[in-house]
């Protein structure tokens, strides 16, 4: 199960990007994105901003769950009060190398681990896990932007923030 996490500012610019794999249930934290689709991830994430912008005005929550799907990748979103969006693209394993049988193959491959978080991105457990992840990242994000040297829509370059995000990923996802 691979994840691509990005913090998008108000001008569609990424403030922070981070890719990682799952550490739960035997995953080793390594990425499983194949090379040919890695570049697509950024496009997909960017395009899901369309959906975010549509939903954000009718949904009163900060955590918008998995609101978009692209082939076999799911994108969840958390929106902050400043219209900064946290987007997480998660791709269940077993279905990312080719798009041939799509969902069927994915399901077959993950039946043995159907209770794992990664396998079913729309299950309540996954949603809960992702929500916790986002909340922790949000805490750290608020601390990061409170720095007086940080201006709006600047990139977040703090290494501490990066390590905190990585820790949150290991903990929850």
């Amino acid at each position: 199960m691979s994840y691509y996490f990005a913090v998008i500012g108000t001008q569609d610019n990424p403030l922070f990007e981070y890719e990682f794999g799952t550490s739960k249930q035997g995953g080793d934290g390594q990425l499983r994105f194949s090379d040919q689709v890695r570049h697509l991830n950024q496009f997909v994430l960017h395009s899901s901003l369309d959906i975010v912008e549509e939903i954000q005005w009718t949904n009163g929550q900060l955590y918008l769950k998995a609101m978009d799907k692209f082939f076999n990748s799911y994108i969840s979103c958390f929106i902050t009060g400043g219209n900064v969006k946290f987007l997480l693209l998660h791709q269940p394993p077993g279905a990312n190398s080719s798009n041939v049988i799509g969902g069927v193959g994915g399901i077959a491959a993950t039946t043995t681990r159907s209770t794992s978080i990664g396998a079913n991105p729309t299950s309540p457990q996954t949603e809960e896990a992702v929500k916790n992840f986002f909340t922790e990242v949000y805490d750290n994000y608020v601390k990061a932007i409170m720095s007086p040297f940080y201006k709006a829509n600047m990139e977040i370059k703090s290494p501490v923030f990066r390590s905190r995000v990585a820790a949150a990923g290991r903990k929850y996802l």
Binding site: F43, D50, T58, F71
Partner: protein
């Protein structure tokens, strides 16, 4: 047959840049007098220097371009005012407080919204392909007469192009008694007995009965045992090849053009469909098989034709009748034999005596009733130089196999005189006579017969099923007798009378289900959507209970299409759910149970198109189905790329509400354009790729964020990489082209060329950074103002020296236009 002079007429449908620049070029060297004699301005620059390059032998044939005419017209030039209003008028009905599912655009029939106005539009194509099929069976002397005029395919070939556009208005009365008139009615002429597809073998009943039954049925010895998916899968492969050829031709054709940057600014066109996509759809739809599970291709009427030269006319007509109803040419058992018989006497103006023919015609009318017509045509061949000759219009609805054969023939024949099939001529009087004949036949015989049949079947069969008693009937069928036969499986269940499908694998034409299917198809053909939809609905459950999967799939597919076209007062959400359910069942039956690739592709592509036209959440659904289709890889590479372009257009057609374009999908549209460009580049179709990239650029420039994916490092690298590949590809083309011709490369040569393509776009560019939010919101559709910053727009044509400057320009702004 004497060879024709293939002087290419100045085709009004080819306003391509090559046409304009060609006129500035020197005329064709006269290779062969018969081919090129009398050419003034050759509108095909391609026919120039081919001798040196073996690759270009197709170009040596100026009339080969006519084979590809259908895709050479750029979409922008076809219709002056495409129907953007169809989508635009619905957006005000969407409110911010509503759900994300969009407004109530379902109140109107799709046809009323003007979505089908352009000839290439999918709605239009759907309407023109599900039309009454009329089978033509001519006697030998008619064939002789027609072949004297230069048509080897018989009367069918002569009539075919005229059936596609019936002159004038056609008034149809629907089941409620209301009447509507349509301008664009058409019929399809087929040869009698063409295109028959054997029914699927029953999975359970594969014991001894099926072989004998099916052998008797369609005269094919092992028809039942063949995997039918083979023939249908090859249809898709053929369609792919045809469109590939067209694309390849266009790529070749643009090689000689002055500059690769000329078509730069043209993006994808939201309003008019890309000609390649229209071609793909047309070829996909043009061969509806004469199958048992759908009766669109079953002939509604058949034309028996004799000529005035026939020594024994009445006997000849009787013979024709017998041949078609009992002889070898008869249609399979599962086709209803009760179609209308129409008798035509072809009177040879030049050789036969008119009084004799009139007497014969009266005799015919007395014998056969009112469904007769005398068609007066001249039997001599028309040469182009005759005063009143017109070229026979090329049929839009060729089957892909036929078109491939044409293309192959033109490839192989460039050493000899090429007889362009589309350049055969007929006399003006012939054309008028044929048009009148078809109009009379359709309006006075075919449509009234269909209406009568509809009301008859409706009263007898369908309304019985619709009421409460009807539901009891179906229930009793299922439970009372059905249970015993279900448990015994399908083996030898012929004793079970309630299951009409059981042992045979098809429904005989007199069963209730077959009649209702015919009723529904007739209603669909006559555009009575409500009746069609309700009948298909009834049929769905029937077929499901009988486990007749192909029938079930077809019924679901047509029900979904009818539901999408008709107006209804359901909320869009419930309607979309119903449609989704139907499509899901149809797709599952086609793909998994019947392994019918053609059925699955057709079903999803048509539904996708109609969903898109409905707007609102229909657009998202359309893309969902498109993704599903892409995942299954049922279409080949060309279809894949076309579909991705189509997804981009789907998303682009979703316009948002309000000043922030809330609900629009620009980024998604740009994503799909990029995917499409990638797909095209991998097939070396650079012109298409360029258009996709331009569209992506345009979409990104419309965003309020003003920077697209520029700040995503990997993404913009990818885009730059695509751009490079594209330039490489185009540069190779132009260099190859340059080596042959020495055309004038100055910028002036560009000027007359540009306006043809850049019809909707301004040539001045605004700086992206200076663009304010206000201006970008004024033009949400963005198709008219080009807010580009890329230095590409100011580039000089690609001469060799300037190629370097082009390169350096590109390098310095690798992320050009995407920011």
């Amino acid at each position: 047959m004497q060879p024709f002079e293939d002087a290419p007429l100045s085709e009004p449908v080819q306003p391509l840049p090559m046409a304009a620049s060609a006129s500035a070029m020197r005329p064709l060297p006269k290779q062969r007098p018969s081919l090129t004699a009398g050419t003034g301005i050759d509108s095909h620059p391609l026919a120039q220097s081919e001798a040196s390059l073996p690759l270009r032998d197709r170009r040596s044939n100026p009339s080969a371009a006519s084979l590809f005419r259908s895709t050479l017209t750029p979409p922008g030039s076809r219709s002056a005012s495409p129907a953007p209003s169809s989508i635009g008028t619905r957006s005000p009905s969407r409110t911010l407080s509503g759900s994300v599912f969009g407004g109530g655009g379902f109140k109107q029939s799709l046809l009323d919204t003007g979505a089908g106005d352009n000839p290439g539009d999918p709605l239009n194509l759907i309407l023109k392909s599900f039309v009454p099929h009329i089978a033509i069976h001519g006697s030998k002397d008619v064939d002789d007469l027609v072949s004297e005029k230069g048509f080897t395919g018989g009367l069918w070939e002569l009539l075919r192009p005229f059936g596609e556009r019936i002159q004038g208005k056609v008034t149809i009365r629907d089941s409620n008694g209301g009447s509507r008139s349509w301008e664009d009615f058409s019929v399809r002429f087929t040869r009698f007995g063409d295109g028959v597809e054997a029914p699927d073998p029953m999975a359970g009943a594969m014991k001894s009965p099926p072989t004998t039954v099916s052998a008797a049925v369609n005269g094919q010895p092992t028809g039942a045992k063949f995997p039918l998916s083979m023939t249908r899968a090859s249809l898709i492969a053929q369609v792919e090849t045809v469109v590939d050829r067209h694309l390849g031709y266009a790529e070749d054709a643009c090689m000689g053009v002055s500059s690769p940057t000329t078509p730069t600014r043209q993006g994808l066109d939201t309003d008019a469909t890309s000609p390649y996509y229209a071609l793909y759809l047309r070829r996909l739809l043009s061969g509806i098989p004469l199958a048992c599970h759908e009766s669109f291709a079953h002939p509604v009427a058949s034309v028996m034709a004799i000529s005035s030269r026939n020594p024994s006319p009445i006997e000849a007509l009787r013979k024709l009748y017998d041949e078609t109803s009992q002889g070898d040419r008869q249609l399979p058992v599962w086709v209803d034999g009760g179609y209308l018989r129409y008798y035509v006497l072809v009177h040879d103006e030049e050789r036969s005596d008119i009084t004799k023919s009139m007497a014969l015609f009266d005799q015919m009318k007395r014998h056969f009733g009112l469904h007769c017509h005398m068609l007066r045509i001249r039997s001599s061949q028309s040469a182009e130089t005759d005063d009143d000759s017109i070229p026979l219009p090329r049929s839009d609805w060729l089957s892909p196999a036929e078109e491939l054969a044409d293309i192959e023939r033109s490839d192989h024949q460039d050493e000899e005189d090429f007889e362009d099939p589309t350049r055969r001529h007929i006399f003006e009087s012939d054309a008028t006579a044929i048009r009148t004949f078809i109009r009379e036949m359709v309006t006075q015989s075919v449509i009234p017969t269909m209406e009568r049949n509809i009301s008859l079947w409706n009263d007898q069969v369908a309304s019985r099923r619709r009421g409460i008693s009807g539901r009891f009937m179906s229930l009793s069928k299922r439970w009372a007798f059905g249970s015993s036969s279900r448990t015994s499986g399908a083996g030898g269940a012929s004793s079970d009378s309630s299951n009409n499908y059981g042992a045979l694998g098809y429904y005989k034409p007199d069963t209730a289900e077959a009649i209702m299917r015919r009723l529904a198809d007739f209603a669909f053909m006559l555009r009575d959507w409500k009746l069609a939809m309700s009948t298909y609905d009834l049929l769905r459950t029937d077929f499901q209970n009988d486990k007749a999967w192909k029938y079930h799939a077809a019924a679901n597919e047509m029900a979904a299409l009818a539901l999408l076209i008709m107006p209804q007062n359901m909320s869009s959400k419930t309607r979309i759910e119903t449609i989704n359910q139907m499509l899901e069942q149809a797709y599952y039956s086609y793909h998994t149970r019947c392994n019918s690739q053609y059925g699955a592709v057709r079903c999803i592509v048509l539904a996708l198109e109609l969903l898109r036209l409905r707007g609102g959440s229909g657009v998202d659904e359309a893309v969902r189905w498109g993704i599903r289709l892409l995942e299954t890889r049922l279409m080949g590479p060309v279809g894949d790329a076309l579909l991705k372009e189509r997804m981009a257009i789907c998303y682009a057609s979703k316009q948002g509400a309000g000043s922030q374009a809330w609900g629009s999908r620009r980024r998604k549209s740009a994503l799909w354009s990029v995917l499409g460009a990638e797909a095209w580049i991998s097939q070396s179709k650079f012109i298409q790729a360029q258009r996709c990239l331009n569209e992506a650029r345009k979409m990104y420039s419309l965003l309020p964020g003003e920077c697209g994916v520029q700040n995503f490092a990997v993404a913009s690298d990818f885009l730059a990489h695509l751009n490079e590949q594209l330039k490489e590809g185009l540069r190779i083309d132009t260099q190859r082209g340059e080596g042959d011709d020495n055309y004038d490369n100055n910028a002036d040569g560009l000027q007359p060329v540009e306006p043809e393509l850049l019809v909707d776009e301004e040539s001045e560019t605004l700086d992206n950074r200076r663009k304010t939010r206000r201006t970008s919101m004024i033009n949400p559709s963005g198709s008219n103002t080009e807010l580009e910053t890329a230095p590409l727009t100011t580039m000089a044509p690609a001469r060799l020296p300037s190629v370097d400057s082009e390169e350096s320009d590109a390098d310095s702004s690798a992320k050009d236009g995407f920011g």
